[in-house]
């Protein structure tokens, strides 16, 4: 959270300042060649966002994002090493070369595209509403004057501000804090990615999901700007996963049901 983000920033700033210019210059953008020389793929993933990336009952990293990264490593022909990232550390770690790519349930936006590159969409999420079991709120039309909580700085925040201009929206720094606000009765509604809301609803009785899907959130794998070789590798992996049927199996395993949005497949 806050203290963690400050520490991450503080730890990363000197690293950037001390980095020799020569090292910066000779760092070629072809990450695939580097990965093969190194013999492993360094994949940044989150450990706190089930079912995308989290620690399972045996404290091992697991999740949909991690399976995608495993498939990319297999495509390149090396083993994968997972590196834990947070919302604050993921971009600095990627840009400084400490990780080769990052799959952290990131929505692909034009503003973010100015800083890093994204792969094609590997998962399409949608925004929904989580309310108490007895709440009269049935959809986005009932939100006037209601206290809505959301994760800060996300596309979700902008969407809810647009769809429910009369709602009292408070944005928290992470999902857990927003969830606590709802659970403690400080908010009437938690809005977020449907899959993540389902996770909260499943683990805690007394809440229900309403309102259907309010938006479409395309998730992309984050890559360094201009790293076309790695982006090709990720895009090819995703298409191979789709055509082989492995994607549908992963989707079923982590989200239940069939994929709602197909992966685009480019003809050979």
């Amino acid at each position: 959270m806050n203290r963690r983000s400050m520490m991450a920033a503080a730890a990363l700033l000197p690293a950037l300042a001390l980095m020799p210019r020569a090292a910066l210059a000779q760092c070629a953008p072809d990450t695939v060649a580097q990965v093969k020389t190194r013999g492993k793929l360094l994949a940044g993933v989150k450990f706190d966002t089930p079912p995308f990336g989290f620690l399972d009952d045996n404290n091992n990293p697991a999740g949909f994002d991690l399976e995608i990264m495993r498939a990319v490593a297999a495509h390149v022909g090396v083993p994968v090493e997972f590196v834990k990232v947070t919302s604050v550390s993921r971009v600095p770690l990627l840009l400084s070369g400490n990780i080769d790519l990052v799959a952290a349930s990131m929505t692909h936006t034009r503003d973010r595209e100015k800083t890093i590159d994204f792969s094609m969409t590997y998962y399409t999420g949608g925004q929904s509403l989580l309310v108490g079991k007895d709440s009269p709120i049935a959809g986005v039309g009932d939100l006037a004057g209601k206290r809505v909580v959301v994760q800060q700085g996300t596309t979700l925040e902008k969407t809810i501000a647009r769809l429910a201009p009369d709602a009292r929206v408070t944005a928290f720094r992470d999902y857990d804090a927003a969830w606590l606000a709802l659970a403690q009765g400080r908010a009437d509604v938690l809005t977020g990615s449907l899959t993540i809301l389902q996770g909260f609803a499943k683990n805690n009785g007394g809440f229900k999901i309403v309102g259907g899907l309010l938006s479409s959130e395309p998730f992309g794998v984050g890559l360094r700007k201009g790293d076309w070789a790695m982006r090709d590798a990720v895009n090819e992996t995703l298409q191979d996963l789709w055509t082989s049927g492995a994607y549908a199996k992963l989707y079923e395993a982590w989200f239940g049901g069939a994929p709602t949005t197909p992966i685009e497949v480019w003809p050979s």
Binding site: M1, N2, R3, S5, M6, A9, A10, L12, L13, L16, M19, A23, L24, C27, P29, S87, V88, S89, V91, P92, L95, S96, G97, D111, R112, K114, T115, I116, Q152, G153, T154, T170, A171, F172, R173, A177, L180, A181, Q184, G185, R186, R224, K225, G226
Partner: protein, 223 residues
């Protein structure tokens, strides 16, 4: 690594940074006021002759100071969620009560540093108890503790960043929002680091130049 710093996205969000800075200043100033008030009351009790106020002060200081500030803020916001206190108020309470414990120790040390003869002399002149404290003890104690209070205030400004966890729109909170929007992590955290640095340095030096701190210092130096 081909990292090109781009400050334009930060500049485009300057209204958020400006607003965050104002909230940080307002929260810190309000919390300083609360902390000094609590500090004077509890610190004076801690320096009292009688056992009961001393025990009360000790209990307050130990129980408050030994719990992380984050939990103080969560206590007001989530623990007492039935009260529906606004987030800013929760952060203000948490910061004031927490820093008040540190201020109490500073005030107690300041009061105890004044020679007992001062109070006895003032009593001999016929001053009442509150007059002895306000006219004789506090002005002298303030001179002794001004540097410690200044460092407490600079600590408080930095601590105010924890208010971001309950969505108080201060500097750290706004930085998180801009980061998530633009992914310019380095630029946004460098920006607020510099702002905190300037703010804390300016404030901790300015406090030592307060007329009150100087006037007392001069008067005592002259004596």
């Amino acid at each position: 690594m081909h990292y090109a710093f781009q400050w334009a996205p930060i500049w485009e969000h300057r209204d958020q940074i400006e607003q965050g800075l104002l909230v940080t200043i307002a929260l810190s100033a309000a919390a300083l006021l609360g902390a000094v008030l609590i500090g004077c009351l509890v610190g004076t009790a801690g320096a009292a002759k009688h056992k009961l106020p001393r025990a009360g002060a000790l209990l307050y200081v130990e129980s408050v100071r030994n719990v992380p500030l984050l939990l103080h803020i969560y206590f007001w916001y989530l623990g007492l969620s039935a009260l529906e206190l606004p987030a800013f108020l929760c952060a203000w309470f948490g910061l004031s009560i927490y820093s008040g414990a540190y201020a109490a120790e500073i005030v107690r040390a300041g009061v105890l540093s004044i020679a007992p003869g001062q109070a006895e002399g003032a009593a001999a002149l016929g001053l009442r108890r509150w007059q002895i404290m306000c006219l004789v003890i506090y002005p002298q104690a303030f001179r002794a503790i001004a540097p410690s209070l200044a460092s407490l205030f600079s600590q408080l400004i930095k601590d105010s960043s924890l208010a971001s966890v309950v969505a108080v729109g201060e500097l750290t909170y706004q930085a998180g929002a801009i980061e998530a929007d633009t992914f310019r992590t380095f630029e946004v955290y460098i920006t607020i680091t510099v702002l905190y640095l300037i703010l804390v340095t300016a404030v901790s030096h300015a406090l030592l130049w307060l007329p009150a701190a100087r006037a007392v210092a001069v008067r005592i130096d002259d004596a």
